[in-house]
Structures are given as structure tokens and as C-alpha cells.
């Protein structure tokens, strides 16, 4: 089993939920498929979707909801299938 890291290509604020009232996109331990949205980064008054690049299981998140994030910073680790 290989691990892949999801990295933010842009700086901004990281969100795990699509909106304040809604639930998180994914939890640790959830199965995700390549291309699935796992979070948002807000910058320049727009929201950029962060997507899983591989099919697998979310091992862990490296950043909290609403924390600021830099370009190149790790968001999550996925245990690829």
C-alpha cells in the first residue's frame, strides 16, 4: 500500500466543509476516489477545490478547518488502494 500526500497549490484559508452549516467533505478513515473534493482553499475572494489525486482511504489531515495554509503545504495523507 502506498501513501500519497494532498498538497495545496495556493496559499489561503483551508476549509474542510463546503459551507459553515454543512458537514465536512470527508472524515479520517473515509474512502475517497481520485478527483473527489476533500476541502477548499479561499484566496482572492474565490474558493479553490482541493481534490484527492488517488483512490484510497484518508489516513490523516495535517491541517485544521479554517487554518491558514501556504502554497505547497500538506493537507492530508491518503493510503492509496
Amino acid at each position: 500500500m502506498s501513501q500519497s500526500k494532498v498538497v495545496s497549490p495556493i496559499p489561503g484559508v483551508f476549509y474542510r466543509k463546503p459551507s459553515p452549516e454543512e458537514d465536512v467533505y470527508v472524515n479520517e478513515g473515509d474512502t475517497v476516489s481520485a478527483g473527489q473534493v476533500i476541502g477548499l482553499v479561499e484566496v482572492m475572494k474565490s474558493y479553490f477545490e482541493i481534490k484527492a489525486e488517488d483512490d484510497g482511504v484518508i489516513e490523516s489531515f495535517a491541517i485544521e478547518h479554517e487554518d491558514s495554509i501556504d502554497a505547497g503545504q500538506e493537507i492530508a495523507i491518503i493510503n492509496a488502494k
Binding site: 495556493i10 496559499p11 484566496v43 474565490s46 479553490f48 502554497a71
Partner: protein, 324 residues
């Protein structure tokens, strides 16, 4: 022709800007880092005011459908041709069918893609620059979209050999902490002495609200001198009656979170502008990313003009090197 396979986060067509309409409320737009933009045009043999692509944070994927020469300048967003890394600040040969893409941003915030001949979009009020808030200029008035087609223009004025490079000492370096020089005014008299001192002695963190319109900074509250507000100024002490906003002017609505107004900003209004970023350092500010820090440094108008001349001399040196 250039086919936009994916547009990146915010890729726009920009040139030297829409100059001469400020008094009717039209901001100039244009390249945020004019030094890198101009160097790019010089590297591909273009007229200095030819339109280029300005990329912010996340690069596009572009497919060139004709042979040409390009150059990528600005912050460090490493370019690749057909998946292979290529240098920045160098004239690069492109063959029809080649794909230009980018790695994640390393330093700086914006890069410029200059194409021999320039990007050919219609001129609106003497400029090809995109002003997205008004939906004018550039390609259809906005940032690039998937499947857009860009025409290459005829603004090439000299032949440049592929592999020609900008000399190392003329390539700017970008850091995560920035010193940005400002001239105090026009309304700095409205700040208390203590707040004036604090403005220059703390690090200001760039918020996610930082784009071509303006950059908003987090630090601490600044206080204005108490007074009975004059008629028309509104009740908040950060208000004055009305004034034009120079490009790079910094206002502090309600004393919280200073905002530096940039190329696409509103041209006037009623906030006290406490300082103005010098033109030489506007290039640098355009390379500052969200979450990075800025320390403002006070200079006088003579130092500002000397810094402006230094930039001009560096560009003249680039021009000299490329034409000899």
C-alpha cells in the same frame, strides 16, 4: 494561436495599463510586476508594451498551435514544456503542439508569459489589459477559461535567439518576508503619532483578500486623531471628505486592517490614505503572497524617485544586453 487547456487560478492578459482615464474613475489595470513583465517582452523581442499573460499562484496549461519564442519571468512558478522543466528568464523555443505547464509556486506570486508578437486581443481605451471588475479588456473581459483561444499579435520588433538569458544580477529574488517602501501621506496627519510609529515597526500579515484590486493586511489597530468630523466626511475618524487614491495608497478603514490599493482599485473616495507605496516597490508587492509578511519602510520622495530610476536603469541594461 494558443489553446487554453486549463486556465490556472487567475490568468489574465495584461500590458502596461490603461493610462489616462484615472480622472473618470477608470483604474489603469496592467501588469502588477512591471519589471518582470517588461523583461519578458524584451526577452522575446517585443515592443515593451505588448500584452502578456499574468499568472497568479497556479499556472495554466497552454498548448501552442504554432512555432514561436516565449519567456517566463516573475516569481518562481517553475515552467515545463511537454512535462520537462525549462528555465525562467530565458528565451525558449516553442514548436507547434508544445504544451506549457507549471509546477507549484515556490516564491513570489505572479509570473508573466511573454510570447513573441504579444497576445492579440482588442484594445479598449488604448490598452489590452484585463479589468475583471468591469469586464473589459483582455479576452472577453475576464480571466482565461478552459478552451479559450488566444491569437498571437505582431508586436515583435527584433529577433532574439532561443537560449538568450537575462543576466543573473538583473533577476529579482523573492522572499517570504518583504520590505516595502512607502512615502507618508496624503492624510497621515490623521493618525496619532503612536500609530504612525506602530505602522512602521510591526510586521503586517497579508490576508487571503489580496488580489489585483488591493492587498489587505492584519496587524494591530491604528488610531486616528480625535476631531469633530467636517461636513461630508462621515462619522468614522478614518474618513476624510474625499480625495483621489494614488495607486499603492494605503487606507485603514475604521483603523483596522490596512488596505493597499493596486492596479484594479477604485480611484478615489473618503478614507484617509496614510501612506503610498513607491512605484519601484509596487513590482515587489505584486509578488507578495497571502500569509506572507510585509514591513513598511518610510522614505522621502527623493528616495522614491531614485528607486524608480534604478528600476529604469536595470531595464535599460537588459535592453542593452539583448540588443548587443
Amino acid at each position: 494561436m494558443i489553446h487554453v487547456i486549463s486556465p490556472g487560478l487567475e490568468t489574465t492578459v495584461q500590458d502596461t495599463g490603461r493610462i489616462g482615464f484615472y480622472e473618470v474613475g477608470m483604474p489603469p489595470s496592467g501588469a502588477m510586476d512591471k519589471y518582470s513583465y517588461t523583461a519578458g517582452n524584451l526577452l522575446v523581442g517585443n515592443n515593451e508594451s505588448a500584452a502578456s499573460l499574468e499568472i497568479t499562484y497556479l499556472g495554466p496549461v497552454l498548448e501552442f498551435q504554432e512555432d514561436t519564442i516565449i519567456a517566463v519571468t516573475g516569481g518562481d512558478i517553475p515552467p515545463k514544456i511537454n512535462g520537462k522543466s525549462v528555465p525562467m528568464w530565458e528565451a525558449l523555443e516553442i514548436k507547434a503542439g508544445d504544451k506549457l505547464s507549471f509546477d507549484f509556486v515556490k516564491q513570489g506570486a505572479r509570473v508573466y508569459v511573454a510570447v513573441a508578437g504579444g497576445i492579440d486581443v482588442p484594445e479598449i481605451m488604448n490598452s489590452r489589459s484585463t479589468y475583471t471588475l468591469c469586464g473589459i479588456g483582455g479576452l472577453n473581459g475576464g480571466k482565461l477559461q478552459e478552451n479559450d483561444k488566444l491569437q498571437i499579435g505582431n508586436e515583435k520588433v527584433r529577433d532574439i535567439q532561443p537560449g538568450t538569458r537575462i543576466a543573473d544580477h538583473l533577476i529579482p529574488a523573492f522572499d517570504k518576508h518583504h520590505e516595502i517602501r512607502v512615502v507618508l501621506g496624503l492624510c497621515s496627519y490623521r493618525l496619532t503619532e503612536e500609530s504612525k510609529e506602530r505602522f512602521f515597526s510591526i510586521d503586517w500579515k497579508v490576508t487571503p483578500e489580496a488580489n489585483r484590486v488591493g492587498y489587505r493586511f492584519k496587524g494591530e489597530r491604528l488610531n486616528f486623531v480625535e476631531r469633530d468630523q467636517p461636513f461630508g466626511a462621515g462619522s468614522n475618524p478614518s474618513n476624510v471628505v474625499d480625495l483621489g487614491y494614488p495607486i499603492g495608497s494605503i487606507q485603514v478603514p475604521d483603523g483596522v486592517e490596512p488596505i493597499a490599493l493596486l492596479n484594479d482599485a477604485v480611484t478615489g473616495g473618503g478614507y484617509a490614505t496614510i501612506a503610498t507605496i513607491i512605484s519601484a516597490d509596487l513590482n515587489m508587492l505584486g509578488q507578495v503572497k497571502t500569509n506572507e509578511t510585509v514591513r513598511f519602510v518610510s522614505v522621502d520622495i527623493d528616495e522614491a524617485l531614485a528607486a524608480r530610476n534604478e528600476v529604469k536603469e536595470k531595464l535599460a541594461e537588459i535592453k542593452q544586453n539583448l540588443s548587443s
